[in-house]
Amino acid sequence: MDGQPSAFESVGAVSPRPSWWLPASILVLVGAVVLGAYIGPAGGITSANWHLIWTVRMPRVALAALVGAMLSVAGASYQGAFRNPLADPYLLGVAAGSGLGATIVFVAGRSDTSGWIIDPLPLASFVGGLTAVFVTYLIGAAFGSSRSSLTLVLAGVAVTSLATAIQTFILYRNNDVIREVYSWILGRLGTATWRDVRLVTPYIAISCIVLLLHRRQLDVLRVGDDEAASLGMQVARVRLIVVVAATLGTAAAVSVSGLIGFVGIVVPHAVRMMAGASYRRLLPLTIVLGATFLILTDIPGRVLSHGAETPIGVVTAFFGAPFFIVVLMRRRRAQ
């Protein structure tokens, strides 16, 4: 009945999964970076347009990589923290809060602030996003039990609706800025500069590191709050840390790129289909493949329509929406 030590060793050897996914993904990312630098209306990489590539295309590629990685890993982390496969990084109101913050800046008039040291647009968007999630958390903590995340999610719905309502009211009274706000909401990487990259890198780096450090905890949480607690995990604390880290990075990403939808759902689910659902593999892979995904989806927008760029949010939604339906169908089959 008792197994022999040799049998145990063989299991220990079989169980670690193939680890070639990560190196392979990094190779694909490198390929995407090269493509991102090569493709554009001004043509390929030549010594004549090197300056253009370095000052226009490369910051755009770098920002796409950072934002794509952040939105993807935040989406995967939210899905783990709330045990809801359709959770996205905007779940707790960060998008609506950022949108409201940005709208206020547009209405106040951007031209007046051109001489400021700090660009108020990303700042207002960042503060708006964090404030919305903070309010969501206060409501969730006041009315929900510490171990249930449902109240928190519902509070997020309420805060999102409220922020959107205020934003709509402001836009209704100031319809001269609707076009600007709308283009911000659709997301953009076209105006990226190295300054934007420097601005968000610290937040995104810290956020990614904290989330990566919690990937084993997210695996424990897969069995639910009660069982995770019975296994010695402090569920409410882990969820708070994960949500704060993911939100901070998401708010930073949104503040420079606008609202780019579906990345936080498409990438984690695609990675799950390929490499399994364990967060220990999922989180590093979503960072690499999220960066790759956004670099690649940013390319068609540059060349599809001459003169006017297709907003990146339109491209990701174009690929994301059908994918979302596939995920739902798969989930239904699994049940």
Partner: protein, 259 residues
């Protein structure tokens, strides 16, 4: 081997008290089974011991109160098998049992070779080494139930709490699961507290039964003492006949009332 003492344990959900001052002492290696109709407070007692339900009164293991321990240290002493465990369909059996090692792995840490060999050892003891790489979704109900018990064993806790461990199993798998727990408690000196609906099985495996009704313990003792037709009629509101087999087994059989 550890003893468990519950003294004046009360559990409230909002304003409703669901367990009133429940006291019991379970000696090392003993099996106490909580019985009683739905809503009697069986699950709440198990959840309070695990630390999932807030409660008043004391739960002590080997004389030291559990509430003074961190959740992690508590999980080293008490393993809990819930009534309907969540089994992530895509998780491998090995990874699932590995979750039982969580109390021993540091916050930012990862499992050691010892944790992995411990999991392999548990799977081996339950004849489940072949399942290690299978996903939970591909296993039968009986296999899943054995894995949940395997996870609790990997926790290496001296006290095992089982909430309706056989409710979703057919009669064959019910017997297998309970035989397994019984064997393990004899091999490892596990102290077991379970909540069960099947009174015959409860009497067959547990050393002692505690009958609960509306949060109060109304009777405790051996199967022969507690499983009496008039007692069950009073607290379950059922008509049963109770048979005593020559080997001491007490069999509870429901009777038709409108024949």
């Amino acid at each position: 081997m550890s003893s468990l003492v519950l003294s004046r344990l009360s559990v409230r959900y909002g304003k409703r008290t669901v367990v009133h001052e429940f006291s019991a002492t379970v000696k090392p290696g003993d099996w106490l089974c909580l019985i009683g109709p739905n809503g009697a407070g069986k699950s709440s007692i198990l959840r309070a011991i695990t630390g999932l339900a807030s409660h008043s009164g004391d739960v002590s293991v080997d004389g030291s109160p559990l509430k003074l321990r961190s959740p992690r240290r508590r999980a080293e002493l008490v393993a809990y098998v819930p009534q309907s465990p969540s089994l992530p369909a895509e998780m491998s059996a090995f990874d699932y049992v590995l979750l039982g090692r969580n109390p021993y792995i540091s916050y930012f840490g990862t499992e050691t070779a010892h944790d992995r060999s411990m999991v392999a050892n548990v799977l081996g003891r339950l004849d489940m080494l072949d399942f290690a790489d299978r996903s939970l979704g591909s296993l039968s109900g009986g296999e899943q139930q054995r894995l949940v018990i395997a996870r609790a064993l990997a926790q290496e806790a001296p006290i095992l709490l089982l909430d309706e461990p056989t409710s979703s199993l057919d009669i064959g798998h019910q017997q297998q699961a309970l035989e397994l727990v019984d064997r393990l408690r004899h091999e490892h000196g596990l102290t077991v507290i379970s909540a069960m609906h099947d009174l015959t099985l409860a009497g067959l495996y547990a050393d002692r039964l505690a009958l609960l009704h509306e949060g109060h313990m109304v009777m405790s003792g051996t199967a022969a003492q507690v499983l009496r037709a008039e007692t069950l009629a009073e607290f379950y509101g059922v008509s049963v006949s109770v048979h005593h087999e020559p080997d001491g087994t007490v069999v509870v059989v429901p009777r038709r009332t409108n024949s």
